[in-house]
């Protein structure tokens, strides 16, 4: 994050300093990933290092234009490819979204085998379902190999629907606002032990008094997000 002379902080993009790619065709849609969504995905993958985990990406902004991923719901860490619980979770998240003016705009997954971050058939299937309702849906794979402290690159690989298949998205169209701040917030969550607050849908089914919408954790994260920069 850097400030220009006017004292306004600029958001950092994943752009390499020497290149500037013009946002040409409308197919190359921009995707913005909020600190809240990123933090919870990261925490989810960290909470179950030996399992594949997945979840849904949500947006509270209106359809059209750039896709702003403002939140996520961590879903499963067991039996990702079995139907009943996945269907149940999708239905419940759908209902919750309509109650809270959010939309499901994507899907994320982290594979148990950290060295392989390619989308599994299960990931493609669910992403396809989401695409039926949202035509600029994204499929996000978490790259386990980049999840070490001090890694300067976001451990994320994004896919979008192009020509009837899921294609790798141009890194330059993916924006993580305030990347360094996001990293520091994630670190703070780990050092305060708050990362243990994260509840996914699987854990909720083990104990239904646990809240899969993660209200408590959301509040903690938003507290840490610097208020001066407005909404993340």
């Amino acid at each position: 994050m850097h400030e220009d002379d006017s004292g306004v902080t600029k958001k950092r993009t994943l752009q390499l300093p020497s290149m500037s790619v013009p946002l040409s065709s409308h197919e190359m849609g921009e995707v913005e990933l909020s600190c809240l969504a990123y933090a919870k995905m990261y925490l989810h993958a960290s909470q179950f290092p030996r399992c594949s985990v997945n979840g849904l990406l949500l947006s509270s902004s209106a359809a059209g234009g750039a896709v702003c991923i403002t939140d996520c719901v961590p879903l499963l860490h067991t039996h990702l490819s079995l139907a009943p619980i996945t269907q149940l979770a999708l239905t419940q998240v759908d209902v919750w979204c309509s109650q809270t003016q959010q939309r499901i705009v994507g899907y994320y997954q982290a594979n148990a085998c950290a060295s392989d971050s390619s989308p599994t058939p299960c990931a493609l299937k669910i992403a396809e379902k989401i695409f039926e309702q949202c035509n600029n849906a994204v499929l996000l794979m978490i790259d386990g190999e980049k999840m070490f402290p001090g890694c300067r690159v976001p451990p994320i690989v994004m896919y979008e629907r192009k020509d009837a298949r899921w294609a790798l998205k141009d890194k330059h169209t993916i924006m993580l606002r305030q990347w360094e701040e996001t990293c520091s917030i994630v670190n703070q969550l780990f050092s305060s032990g708050d990362q243990a607050l994260l509840v996914d849908f699987d854990s909720h089914l083990d104990d239904i008094t646990k809240d899969w919408t993660n209200q408590k954790l959301n509040a903690k994260i938003m507290e840490l997000v610097s208020p001066a920069n407005g909404n993340v």
Binding site: A83, P84, I85, L88, T91, T213
Partner: protein, 297 residues
């Protein structure tokens, strides 16, 4: 940084007993085991008597899980010193090599154990785990099948195989493994429920009815299994909604679904009592049940 005993106000005996409990129940809470075990070893080794060896083993494995190679190495050294020719210790050395991703070296170690003792199941299972870690699912499946031909009673292996098949979307074979497990563990509600999930995933009217029966069985064994409850609700609803069923079957399944829905409702009402943060999940379930009822009638 204060010690565990200070932080939680526990004695070394309580720490030792906790470790035993975790060992006996096969918990994989590795960070806790490392915290408690490391302190026990460092501060109270002399008091532990012969227990110390099994604690070294337990802490070593937990240390590998937490990338604490320093701790794993020192535990291993103590064990090697005490049991110089032990296969059990050799296997631990192999696990350390696995943790360091030195799979070839680990395999050599396990092969040398097997040369000495071809019936050593632990070494064979570690070799299969290596295949899994390397992403070689089909080879892992093949080896595990061969293993099970010889050691047909190994529950852990059957369950591992069912997981591998589920990952590979081979639901028929996963169902077979779960059938083996249910036969030998008829009181285990988790196997029934997993079997129901596999059948549901396979789809089709017959499988949905089977799924419903197994979800019901899981609930008989444990009426708090929420996955089984939801599974029963969903499978009964789908059967009732199918155009291929007779009026009687439809009526029966509507009844089952309604029962499940009321149980779900009740469970969520109880869970939501007094807890503000649960209101979201309670509301979501209520609406879902309502909307599904509308499509069924």
């Amino acid at each position: 940084m204060s010690s565990i005993s200070e932080l939680y106000d526990v004695t070394w005996e309580e720490m030792r007993d906790k470790l035993r409990k975790w060992r006996e129940e096969n918990f994989r809470n590795s960070e806790q085991i490392v915290d408690v075990g490391e302190e026990l070893i460092n501060e109270h080794a002399s008091k532990l008597g012969d227990d110390i060896w099994i604690i070294y083993e337990q802490v070593m494995i937990a240390a590998l899980d937490c990338s604490r190679d320093d701790l794993a190495w020192s535990c291993l050294q103590e064990l090697k010193r005490q049991f110089p020719d032990s296969h059990r210790v050799k296997r631990l050395a192999g696990m350390r090599l696995e943790a360091l991703e030195r799979y070839e070296d680990a395999n050599k170690l396990y092969d040398s154990i097997l040369q000495d003792d071809p019936t050593n199941t632990a070494a064979r299972k570690r070799k299969i785990s290596i295949l899994r870690a390397q992403g070689k699912s089909s080879e892992a499946i093949r080896e595990l099948n061969e293993y099970l031909e010889q050691f047909v009673g190994d529950q852990e292996a059957w369950h591992e195989l069912s997981e591998l098949y589920i990952n590979e979307h081979d639901y028929a074979k996963a169902a077979f493994c779960l059938e083996e497990l249910m036969m030998t563990n008829p009181h285990n509600h988790l196997y029934c429920e997993q079997y129901g999930e596999v059948k549901y995933t396979q789809g089709g009217l017959e499988n949905l009815e089977l799924a419903r029966k197994y979800f019901a069985q899981a609930l008989k064994l444990n009426n708090r299994n929420m996955r089984a409850l939801f599974g029963l609700y969903m499978s009964a609803s789908h059967v009732a909604a199918s155009p291929k069923v007779s009026a009687k079957v439809k009526k029966d399944n509507v009844k089952y679904a309604a029962w499940a829905a009321s149980q779900i409702s009740r469970a969520y009402q109880m869970a939501g009592r007094g807890k503000k943060e649960n209101k979201c999940s309670v509301k979501a379930v209520e609406e879902m049940l309502e909307s599904m009822q509308i499509t069924m009638s």
